[in-house]
């Protein structure tokens, strides 16, 4: 009898704490459904309509998807986006690790260097993009001037389809300071005795990096890849400002294509269909990355 009563009290307490917990997180529940779940599902619903932004959406079934399938510009945008992600994400990981190793040096002015590396990553992307238009100017730009010393002929970075995507990749690298700090924290968390033991075994700097540092950085690399893929698949601002998708659609990324269809061409339903596909691609890549992590991420010694 007393046992049963106590059990009842336990359940009542659980329910009370559940309600209290839900009360505190209720803004998030509301926000999650209204600002994330609703638009994600609405993309598929709106994607089956023809809608110009005025009046009512008109139901057309899968017509947008059929059109999309035959739309060469959609495929171009998808290829451009993948090209960008495949180039920018691994490069971003390497750059961030190199920056972190540099910031880990024991020199007196390290906090100044750290600030200089970090500041561009909180400077607005739109301003950096505007700046890069000028730095990459084929005639007067600083970049070609510096390359001139290496006897590299002037390159029309933003006007040549071979280089325009590289220019956008370059902008992203200025944001590496942020993630480099996370790598730096991971570097500092590596127990020094591991390096001492390796030294005793006669390991050089490169072997120590390859067999100790790099495996212990893999959880941070996973985080960087997932965030980087999300940002890369949705890259918009540098392309909108620097090239507006050109030249010859070589920087027409999927996000820019969505924007143009929805807000410039009045093809809202079509844009929603593309957004829905972009979500599926992003979610799939994130899940695959997570799944693969069990084969290459080292969670020991955390």
């Amino acid at each position: 009898m007393t046992m049963k009563l106590r059990h009842h009290r336990g359940v009542a307490k659980d329910i009370r704490s559940l309600l209290l917990g839900l009360l505190f997180i209720s803004p998030w529940i509301f926000g999650f459904f209204l600002f994330l779940a609703y638009p994600v599902f609405s993309n598929f619903h709106l994607g089956m309509t023809e809608y110009s932004g005025f009046g009512e959406p008109e139901w057309i079934g899968l017509k947008n998807y059929q059109e999309l399938f035959h739309d060469s510009l959609f495929w171009t945008s998808l290829c451009n986006t993948f090209y960008y992600v495949i180039l920018a994400v691994p490069l971003g990981v390497v750059v961030a690790i190199v920056l972190a190793l540099a910031m880990n040096q024991r020199v007196r002015e390290v906090s100044t260097y750290r600030a200089l590396l970090y500041i561009p990553s909180i400077a607005p992307t739109f301003a950096l993009s505007m700046m890069l238009i000028w730095i990459l100017n084929p005639r007067y730009g600083l970049f070609n001037y510096i390359l001139g010393f290496l006897h590299i002929p002037a390159i029309n970075w933003l006007g040549d389809t071979r280089f325009s995507k590289l220019a956008i990749v370059l902008v992203a690298q200025f944001g590496a300071g942020q993630i480099a700090l996370i790598f730096l924290a991971a570097l500092r968390a590596i127990p020094p005795h591991l390096y001492d033991a390796a030294s005793l075994d006669g390991a050089g700097a490169w072997r120590k990096f390859w067999y100790i540092t790099l495996p212990l950085l893999t959880p941070t690399i996973l985080y960087d890849i997932i965030i980087g893929v999300g940002l890369g698949l949705q890259v918009f601002v540098p392309a909108y400002i620097m090239t507006d998708g050109g030249p010859l659609n070589s920087t027409m990324f999927t996000a820019l294509y969505i924007y143009k269809n929805a807000f410039e061409y009045g093809r809202v339903g079509f844009a929603a269909a593309v957004s829905g596909l972009l979500f599926l691609i992003n979610a799939t890549v994130a899940v695959i990355t997570f799944w693969s992590s069990r084969y290459w991420v080292n969670y020991n010694l955390e």
Binding site: Y145, G230, L231, S275
Partner: protein
Amino acid sequence: MSLFYISPIYWMLVTALKSDHELSQFPPTLWSHDPVWSNFEQATKTFPFLTFLGNTILYAALVMAGSVLSNFVIAYGFSRIKWPGRDILFYPVVASIFIFIQFPVNPITMVPMFALFAKVGMVNSYLPLVVPTFFGNPFFVFLLRQFMLQIPADISEAARIDGANEFQIMFRIILPLARPALVVVALFAGVGAWNDFLGPLIYLHNDKLYTLSLGLTYFKTMHGIQFNLLMAASCLVVLPVVVVFLFFHRFFIEGVTLGGGK
């Protein structure tokens, strides 16, 4: 390497001080021989600088308020109270970060959200940009939860035994202890709003409402871009961010580490 990274900011300042003549010299001069400070004055006359500055400050302030308030309460629920299902419900928060690190306006959700805000007549106002920040941001929830889990549970337990209710514990005891993390959220949220381009681009159609980010597009005309003036204006936009960073750099650096730690 540091030099490479700071070069765009340096070049922004140098270009801002060049005359039209010096601008078109090649090889480019690495510092301005005859700095034209009036470029700044002229840049602020090219677009309604003060109006846009006021708009941007207001936008950043509202986003800061919404982010600090909502994410503190939500993260409190995810860290300081024990309730069944809490850690399971936290999974969607983490999953959201990975796809929606740009929040609330991002290319995946922008089309339906715009359609929704248009239907309720909120387009061409700051409401679509500000209201969502009062309902939590997954990244900030994660960051604050990490921080608040480190505060010993005994502190709350002692107050509960003394008869304090959950709201009293939250505001009187945990709030002061979580202040460093809340400053981080305020800074990230404020800088995020200041640097926002896509949100204002989509939702603000009346140039009285524009932010500084949209203001810079005024320098891109049919006749090309006047780079010295554009860079002068860019300096004015970037400067507050740099100043805020220099004042609070410890918070930025600790915040990044906290948000990335898992």
